[in-house]
Every structure is written in structure tokens, then in C-alpha cells.
């Protein structure tokens, strides 16, 4: 019968190391993938921040275009007059938000470190 040989032990150690590394890596940071939450009045949409996409959000004035790119979200175009929401730039950390008051669109990043300090409805109206 073949016996256990040196390389077996090396490989077993490497494989076990890899598996434990993955356990640690994947489960120790549970909510790493933050999401973009978009609200208009009573409606809510949620998108993963990991996937690039362009979203048209329907508001009272028309469609506000939100882009998710490279783990960041920003307003690309908006039917409002002042365009503050576009000027707000890019957000990516939990708790950060952009609001477009004229079009009643509220965009926020939610994730593991989310703070409950802000009440969503207070900001929109």
C-alpha cells in the first residue's frame, strides 16, 4: 500500500490554509457589499453597488438617471432646475446620500455600518 508522502502533507496544509482563509475572508465581513437604496414617495428600489448599471427613476417631474459605476453611485441627469443632485457627486459609503427635492428622489447607500441617525422621510419633505 502507498504511504503518506511529504508532498501530501504540504498539499493538505496548503488546501486547509486556503479553505480557512476563505472561511475567514468571506464570513468575517458579512455585509461588505453595500446597496443603493432609492426612494420616491412610498416606492423603494434596491441595487447592489457591485454591479454597474444605469437606472431611470420616475419622479413627478420626469426621470432622474442614477448611474452605478465602480462601486459608486451618482446622479447623471435630472429634470430638476437647480441640479444640486448632480453637483452632489459620487457616493459609496454607508450612510451617504443624495437627494433631489424637486423630483422627490432620495438616494442612499446602505451597508454594514449604516447609521440609524437619519430618518429618511424627514429629509425628503
Amino acid at each position: 500500500m502507498q504511504k503518506l508522502k511529504p508532498l501530501d502533507v504540504v498539499i493538505a496544509a496548503l488546501a486547509a490554509g486556503l479553505v480557512f482563509f476563505l472561511f475567514f475572508r468571506i464570513y468575517s465581513t458579512p455585509a461588505e457589499n453595500a446597496s443603493v437604496v432609492i426612494r420616491v414617495n412610498e416606492d423603494t428600489w434596491r441595487y447592489s453597488l457591485d454591479v454597474d448599471r444605469e437606472i431611470a427613476v420616475p419622479g413627478p417631474l420626469g426621470e432622474t438617471f442614477v448611474h452605478i459605476e465602480n462601486g459608486q453611485a451618482h446622479v447623471e441627469e435630472s429634470p430638476c432646475k437647480n441640479k444640486f443632485c448632480i453637483a452632489a457627486g459620487k457616493i459609496n459609503r454607508p450612510g451617504e446620500w443624495i437627494v433631489c427635492l424637486p423630483n422627490e428622489v432620495f438616494i442612499m447607500i446602505e451597508g454594514a455600518m449604516e447609521s440609524d441617525g437619519l430618518e429618511v422621510d424627514d429629509i425628503v419633505f
Partner: protein
């Protein structure tokens, strides 16, 4: 019968001895997956991967082209029996099997004196599982598949060690295997060494 045991002639003819050995091992692989299916298990998804025993046994017997024929037969045979040949479950099994058998083959050729079937089985299982995870990410589940990666790989780790121990026993005790190693002449020296070790 082994007079025409040259690399060119070995594969000639459907009745040649090496072709017969390949077909026997490929059939054996299908048979072992049926056996594994019948063995009662504590959890339905736990599997040892007995069907890979003939693939590992083939390492010492065949040249690379012969070995790849064996692997292809195993994949195609399973696809036909399970009926998944034309679905993309088949891409998983084919992707995993081809990647892992190539890894095992080169590992065996490079280090066969320093490694037993435990290490080979481990590398094979890790390769096959990783390839399947990658395929699953792109074909079915998206990146959230990595949430189940750690337990999936851990099960593969444990079961492949068990399978490796079993193959170590099998190759030591099987008379069919020792005569096949002698016949193959590929690892002539090693083959005989191994057999003499086994006898002592």
C-alpha cells in the same frame, strides 16, 4: 501480446489491450458512481467521488492521449446515463473533470515519488471545485455563489482525502492494477518498485 507495446501501436484498433484497459476503467468509473449513489449517506449531497478512482488509477497506466480518452469517456458516459449530455450541467462536469485530471496528470508525472494518491486526490478535488464555482458564478448564481464556497471546498477537502486513502489501499491491493502497471511499461521502473513495496 505486449510485443506491439509501442506508443504508436498501443492505441491501434478497438480491440487492442490498452483500449480495452481504458474502456474497462471508464466503465468502472460509471459503475462506481452508481455504487456511490446506492450507498446510504448521512446527507444526500455528501459524496466521496468514487467515480474518480479509475481516473486516478489511470495515472500510472496511460500516456497523456490515452489518459485524456479515459477522461472523455467518463464525462461522456456520465452525461449519457444522467441524461445531461446536452444541458449545461454537462459544462460543469466537463470543465471540472478536464481541469482536475490535467492537474493530477502533471502533478503525478512531475512528483510521483514524493506524492501519494492523497495529495493527488486533494489537488484534483480543489481544482475541480474551484472551476465549478467559477462556472456557477458566470452561468447560474452570480457572485453570491462565493457565500457557499467555504463549506463546499471544505467538503471537497475532506472527501478527497478519504478517496485518496481509499485509492492508496486499492492500488496496493489490486492485482489487476499491478499487472496493468507492468503491462503499461510507462513507469516501468516505478511500477515495479511500487509492486515490490507492496509485496513486502
Amino acid at each position: 501480446m505486449s510485443s506491439d507495446n509501442t506508443p504508436v501501436k498501443r492505441l491501434n484498433g478497438i480491440g487492442s489491450e490498452i483500449i480495452t484497459k481504458i474502456a474497462i476503467l471508464a466503465a468502472f468509473s460509471l459503475f462506481l458512481s452508481t455504487v456511490e449513489y446506492m450507498i446510504p449517506k448521512p446527507l444526500p449531497f455528501l459524496r466521496i467521488g468514487l467515480a474518480n478512482l479509475p481516473i486516478m488509477v489511470g495515472l500510472a497506466l496511460f500516456s497523456l492521449p490515452e489518459y485524456l480518452i479515459l477522461v472523455t469517456l467518463k464525462i461522456a458516459g456520465q452525461g449519457l446515463i444522467n441524461g445531461t449530455l446536452f444541458s449545461y450541467i454537462f459544462i460543469y462536469s466537463a470543465g471540472g473533470s478536464i481541469a482536475s485530471s490535467l492537474m493530477m496528470y502533471f502533478l503525478y508525472k512531475l512528483f510521483h515519488n514524493k506524492i501519494s494518491y492523497i495529495g493527488i486526490s486533494l489537488v484534483g478535488a480543489m481544482t475541480s471545485n474551484s472551476v465549478q464555482l467559477l462556472l456557477a458564478q458566470y452561468l447560474l448564481f452570480g457572485s453570491s455563489i462565493w457565500i457557499i464556497a467555504p463549506p463546499f471546498l471544505l467538503m471537497g477537502l475532506v472527501s478527497s482525502i478519504l478517496l485518496g486513502i481509499f485509492v492508496n489501499h486499492f492500488t496496493g491491493r489490486s492485482r489487476w492494477y499491478s499487472s496493468a502497471v507492468e503491462f503499461s511499461g510507462l513507469n516501468g521502473k516505478r511500477g515495479r518498485d511500487e509492486i515490490s513495496h507492496a509485496e513486502t
